[in-house]
């Protein structure tokens, strides 16, 4: 009985993993199949031209700008907020409410964040349509993800570590950055990678706040177009799926590079603690 059940469950596990991998291969395969033909040195490193034949360098640069700025702002705020909720705040109704609200906000469609950003950052704070306005909007979008995943990984740090450290007369803060955060690092990192994905994949919130200017941004106060917005525009208006897929290929490579970098950095951080 149990054995049969085990076999079925194991079969399901394999099947689920197979499905996931198959979907992964199909999607990435499709994007490469459609897009690889357009990929060339000029396509990646050339400047953009609206009349065709240009490259997407400005979008690559803009994309990197938005990732870096949003994460630079969201990572510390998100992690520290999670630390507050998990380690400092008295667990109770208020914290649970905050947690609940945070979770619920992950479901708000990004276009609403975009409209909010357009009203608040672009118009009210007079940042104009700019990379910085978009990054601030993205910060709000990824905060819940960072907070929740960080909280979860903090929860998994054994209490004995906290006790062991505090019993040595260290402060909460010292315990936090010497013992707790390093132990929680893998979980925090995977949250950051997810957030990075969310930032990279975002379009609606960005084109309402950063706009779609297809030129090399002069500064973070310039209006600009990210890779994803580019692929969104070419699908929506021109129906140019090859071009959208080619942008997708570049994005996938970019994500790969960023993920590897993140993993590398976390390994370095871990080493530093040994």
């Amino acid at each position: 009985m149990r054995k049969l059940k085990d076999k079925i469950l194991l079969g399901l596990l394999w099947f689920a993993a197979f499905l996931t991998v198959a979907v992964l291969v199909m999607i990435v395969g499709y994007i490469f199949y459609k897009g690889i033909g357009l990929i060339s040195f000029d396509f990646i490193f050339g400047d953009y031209s609206p009349s065709g034949g240009g490259g997407i360098l400005p979008m690559i640069v803009t994309t990197i700008y938005t990732i870096v700025i949003s994460l630079l702002i969201a990572t510390p705020i998100g992690i520290l907020a999670a630390v507050y909720l998990q380690e400092y705040a008295k667990q109770g109704r208020l914290v649970n409410t905050i947690r609940f609200a945070t979770e619920s906000l992950t479901g708000i469609p990004s276009i609403i964040y975009g409209l909010f950003g357009a009203v608040f950052f672009v118009t009210t704070l007079k940042l104009g349509m700019s990379i910085i306005a978009a990054s601030l909007t993205l910060t709000i979008i990824v905060l819940p993800v960072i907070i929740r995943t960080t909280e979860e990984s903090l929860k998994t740090v054994p209490r004995t570590y906290r006790e062991g450290s505090l019993a040595l007369g260290t402060t909460k803060l010292q315990t936090l950055y010497k013992v707790i955060l390093p132990s929680a690092m893998p979980g925090i990192l995977s949250g950051l990678i997810l957030s990075m994905g969310r930032i990279i994949g975002e379009s609606a919130a960005i084109f309402l706040t950063a706009g779609t200017v297809a030129a090399m941004p002069a500064s973070i106060f310039s209006s600009a177009r990210t890779l994803t917005v580019h692929s969104f525009l070419v699908t929506q208006e021109a129906g140019d799926i090859e071009l959208a897929a080619a942008v997708g290929v570049v994005l996938i490579v970019l994500i790969l590079i960023l993920n590897l970098t993140a993993t590398f950095i976390s390994k370095k951080l871990n080493k530093a603690n040994y």
Binding site: V23, V28, I98, F120, P158, I200
Partner: protein, 304 residues
């Protein structure tokens, strides 16, 4: 014996530690500030949506009941009824959860517990990669592969349908569910596994009866975040939903979920029409609140 001598200056804090306490206090404040910052930004957004979305009902005399239960949505004729979209959103979300959550969780379990390290080391980052692919491309993939596939194999006149939305959303929530759940499962102490295995329980039994329940809280987070992704997704859904304004009666009907309604028309909407789109956002938000509430209930029930 009865009275213990206490020094007068006892309450004083040593000089050496003064700095530490100040730092401690300051850092506590900084953490609190960060938490508040997130809360404030979240409140701002909620406030913004509610402010915009409640205007037609408060100031312009529209009936909220008609809005919720009306089935005609013709903005140019001042008809704003979102019942078909509410129904569509409920079906699509539940459908995506039913397909996406088990596959995602099982994949996470597979990666954390069954797969050889070397295999997991390749697949896990690859799945995370999926999280970063723009939703537009999922939509294009859905439109170019899934929609025709459904159309041809189910003998439909159009593949843009509830089932297409469910499939695309299920795929899109996979990376979140898998990544978060995998981390949670990996964090379960080895002692639990050993304890169960030593009782002669099979590895699979151990996984489902001890490891997964021990990782429950993280798994719930995975589901909630994945669900958030599914509910909040627009760009991919627009392409495969068909966006027809009918109340779906079968899996093959075209649907227009609440989110796509907002994204689809926001670009051209103004005045009352735009405010009604924000009102759609309020309904969506309430919908998410209810779902999260239900999930939280389920998870605390499972805790006993």
């Amino acid at each position: 014996m009865s009275s213990i001598p206490v020094k007068k200056d006892a309450g004083e804090i040593g000089k050496a530690n003064k700095r530490k306490y100040i730092l401690e206090k300051v850092s506590g404040r900084v953490f609190l500030f960060c938490a508040l910052l997130s809360v404030v930004s979240l409140l701002l957004i909620i406030g913004f949506v509610f402010y915009k979305g409640s205007h037609p009902f408060i100031a312009e005399g529209y009936s909220f009941i008609d809005f919720l239960l009306g089935s005609d949505w013709v903005p140019s004729e001042d008809k704003f009824g979102i019942l078909p979209m509410i129904v569509a959103s409920i079906y699509a979300t539940i459908g995506a959860l039913i397909i996406g959550v088990p596959i995602g969780l099982f994949t996470a379990i597979f990666l954390a517990e069954i797969a050889p390290r070397s295999v997991a080391k390749i697949i896990s980052p690859a799945v995370q990669l999926l999280a970063g692919i723009p939703s537009v491309l999922y939509g294009v993939f859905g439109l170019a592969i899934i929609v025709p596939f459904l159309q041809n194999n189910l003998g439909l006149i159009k593949g843009q349908s509830l089932i297409a939305v469910i499939i695309v959303l299920a795929i899109m929530m996979l990376p979140t569910v898998v990544t978060v759940a995998e981390t949670a499962i990996r964090a379960v102490p080895k002692a639990y596994r050993e304890g169960s295995l030593a009782l002669g329980v099979s590895p699979i039994g151990t996984i489902f009866k001890v490891v997964v329940p021990a990782a429950k809280s993280g798994i719930m987070t995975a589901i909630v975040l994945g669900m958030g992704r599914a509910i909040g997704e627009t760009m991919a859904v627009i392409l495969v939903a068909g966006n027809s304004l009918v109340i779906p009666t079968s899996l093959t009907d075209s649907i227009r979920p609440l989110t796509t309604n907002i994204a689809l028309e926001m670009g051209y909407a103004f005045g009352t029409h735009q405010e009604m789109l924000f009102a759609t956002g309020i309904v969506l938000f309430s919908f998410i609140l209810i779902l999260n509430f239900v999930l939280a209930r389920i998870s605390s029930k499972g805790g006993n």
